[in-house]
């Protein structure tokens, strides 16, 4: 059974005050515009896509850190779409998030050991002295040794990689069933990314945890995720098993993401597809296929007029003219 089921999820941000409303100049930012997927127990799904495609918003929605505008979220068999905060509180320890902004996620004045221990106390799982002992074990576990020394440090006394280990330790101390990891390695040296990802993979195995890995880097997705969902302007445009997608992309946007990933391999036979321009403003989503203004293959009126639906089974794609293998 799936741990998480998401159906036609939407988040619209309304921008503008009362005056704007009277003058009818409110903007509706369609950050997430109908997203559907399932996540199995112990499975990792990567959400990939350009900046502004709606990845973070999707991640926050499924954890109910944002109020959805529409759709349905079922967590471990329970519909949590409209669940009240009081009830959600009981579920919170089972769903954790690693935030995109590494500076926002740790209190600069708090000892990092205490930051790791805190969730245990807040959720009534342990007393401070027990929590402290568990936090020390956790520090050891994420490779911050000697743990006693690291426990007392402040975030500023850590390197970027060490700080991210603390953030992971804090998210893992409650042994969650679901982790949304939002760009956990994008601010870290390329050569150190794998060690952080490995740490997440170890926890995932140990807790049989499900993971949503948000990243714009397909090379990162490939290391951790069994499946990939490619997002563009608030919608999933392609989804399927990771290696399969990487070898045979069906959506031109997926192909463009693959082509943009730098490689060290000389003369790699990577696709040459390049897309111009920038992602559209989500308050003015293009007609028809929302990717059409940037798509090098779109030359028919169909792409401009008709929105392609997601089709397929284990591999799904929303494109009128999917790439053939």
């Amino acid at each position: 059974m799936a741990l998480l089921e998401v159906e036609d999820l939407k988040k619209y941000f309304i921008q503008g005050d009362l005056v704007d409303r009277l003058l009818r100049r409110v903007r509706t930012v369609k950050a997430v515009d109908g997203v559907t997927f399932k996540l199995g127990k112990g499975e990792t799904l990567a959400l990939v896509g350009e900046s502004g495609s709606g990845k973070t918003t999707t991640g926050k929605l499924v954890l109910r850190l944002l109020e959805p505008t529409g759709g349905r979220i079922v967590f471990d068999g329970v519909d949590i779409t409209r669940m009240k905060e009081g009830e959600l509180r009981k579920l919170r320890p089972r769903m954790q998030m690693i935030y995109q902004d590494p500076y926002a996620s740790l209190n600069p004045r708090m000892e990092v050991g205490r930051a790791i221990a805190e969730p245990l106390v807040v959720h009534g799982r342990a007393s401070w002295s027990e929590a402290r002992r568990e936090a020390l074990e956790m520090l050891e576990r994420v490779g911050l040794t000697p743990a006693k020394d690291f426990y007392r440090r402040r975030p500023i006394q850590l390197s970027g990689g060490q700080r991210q280990r603390v953030v992971i330790a804090r998210a893992m101390i409650l042994k969650p069933n679901l982790l949304v990891a939002d760009e956990p390695v994008s601010m870290i040296d390329v050569s150190m990314r794998t060690s952080i990802l490995k740490l997440l993979l170890d926890f995932k195995k140990e807790y049989n945890m499900s993971m949503i890995m948000i990243t714009h880097d397909l090379a990162v997705a490939r290391l951790v995720a069994e499946r990939v969902a490619v997002m563009y302007l608030g919608k999933i445009v392609e989804m399927g098993p990771t290696e399969d997608i990487l070898h045979n992309p069906s959506h031109p946007y997926t192909e463009a993401l693959i082509a943009a990933a730098p490689t060290i391999v000389p003369r790699a036979r990577k696709p040459r597809l390049r897309i111009k321009g920038e992602i559209a403003d989500p308050s003015r989503i293009p007609s028809g296929c929302r990717f059409h203004p940037r798509c090098p293959y779109s030359d028919s009126s169909k792409c401009i007029e008709k929105e392609p639906q997601l089709r397929g089974d284990s591999r799904i794609v929303a494109c009128h003219y999917p790439l053939t293998r």
């Binding site: 040296d189 390329v190 490689t263 060290i264």
Partner: protein
């Protein structure tokens, strides 16, 4: 033709916690029209080395010895005023975060025109604004955007503006310090392509600072690998990538996630050293799987080897 020659450069930061050598005995040359990338882990001294060239070291950073010969003149002995004149006109600089280098309260046209006037490359504000708008066009931004404020542009567009400002006075050398680190892959690929085409069109030399060796591999002519304040290997990009001589270069390549190679979870063991107390002998030896006795005791000297330079005891 050599445009830039760095000779035995040493740079220190002296703080309350002690002295730290961020660049140690660095030597490099950069030819006219050539693209050299400097790669290495965070804290290895890449930015310090690059920023010392146009005199942009942040205090308490100080060049303690060595020379930086640019077009025949030693930049280390120039006054602040002389260096300011060279920046922008002969050496352009692009930083990682365009928001911190743009004034949020002034239009980008205003800021570009001011830089042009400063170097007396235009006779009037109007002419300067025209130059600014042409410079924007050259980086793929409509010229009328001179009227925009920085926050009205996307991150990728702001970085293009920074590039336009850095190259509008046709410098001989462009130094770009992690210009795409804050951007997503598609914008990154477009910015890198822009830099490459500007380099070729203007015959300009480029020094790119990055921690992503794959990014460097796609655009560079030469590459220098830094580890713990030292340049451990330098050479033509293809040779270094296909046949890395230094074990650190090899490890760096192996640890970089890459879509086009077999999937691996390889990581370099251990952590980079604290530059206040670097290991004795070869600085990489505690993490090196090829280390042998001399590595612990003696510092390796840079050795020339088939057009490359490597500092490792494996090569004498």
């Amino acid at each position: 033709m050599t445009l830039l020659r760095i000779e035995d450069l040493n740079i220190d930061y002296v703080t309350l916690r002690g002295r730290l050598r961020a660049v140690k005995s660095a030597s490099l040359t950069l030819g006219g029209g050539e693209w050299l990338s400097i790669v290495g882990e965070s804290g290895s001294g890449k930015s310090t080395l690059a920023m010392s060239i146009p005199g942009l070291l942040l205090p308490p950073g100080r060049i303690t010895s060595g020379r930086i010969i640019f077009r025949g003149k030693d930049l280390t002995s120039m006054s602040g005023e002389e260096l300011r004149r060279i920046r922008g006109s002969e050496i352009g600089v692009v930083f990682q975060d365009p928001l911190t280098s743009l004034d949020p309260l002034r239009t980008i046209g205003d800021q570009m025109a001011e830089a042009i006037m400063e170097h007396r490359s235009a006779s009037s504000k109007r002419e300067a604004l025209e130059m600014a708008s042409a410079a924007l066009e050259s980086v793929g931004i409509p010229g009328d955007r001179v009227k925009y404020y920085p926050h009205q542009l996307s991150g990728g567009q702001r970085q293009r503006v920074m590039i336009a400002m850095a190259v509008m006075l046709k410098p001989k050398l462009l130094i770009a310090d992690e210009p795409t680190t804050a951007l997503d892959v598609i914008v990154q690929a477009n910015i890198m392509r822009l830099l490459k085409s500007l380099q070729q069109r203007m015959g300009m030399s480029v020094m790119l600072i990055t921690h992503d060796i794959a990014l460097a591999a796609e655009v560079s002519d030469r590459i220098a690998v830094m580890y713990a304040a030292e340049i451990v290997e330098e050479g033509p990009i293809d040779q270094v990538i296909e046949n890395p001589l230094h074990p650190y270069t090899e490890a760096l390549i192996k640890s970089t996630p890459d879509l086009w190679r077999e999937k691996t979870l390889y990581t370099i063991p251990g952590n980079p050293p604290d530059l206040r107390s670097p290991p004795r002998g070869c600085r990489f030896h505690p993490r090196c799987h090829k280390a042998f006795e001399p590595c612990k005791a003696k510092e390796p000297r840079p050795t020339r080897l088939r057009g490359r330079t490597v500092a490792c005891h494996l090569y004498g």
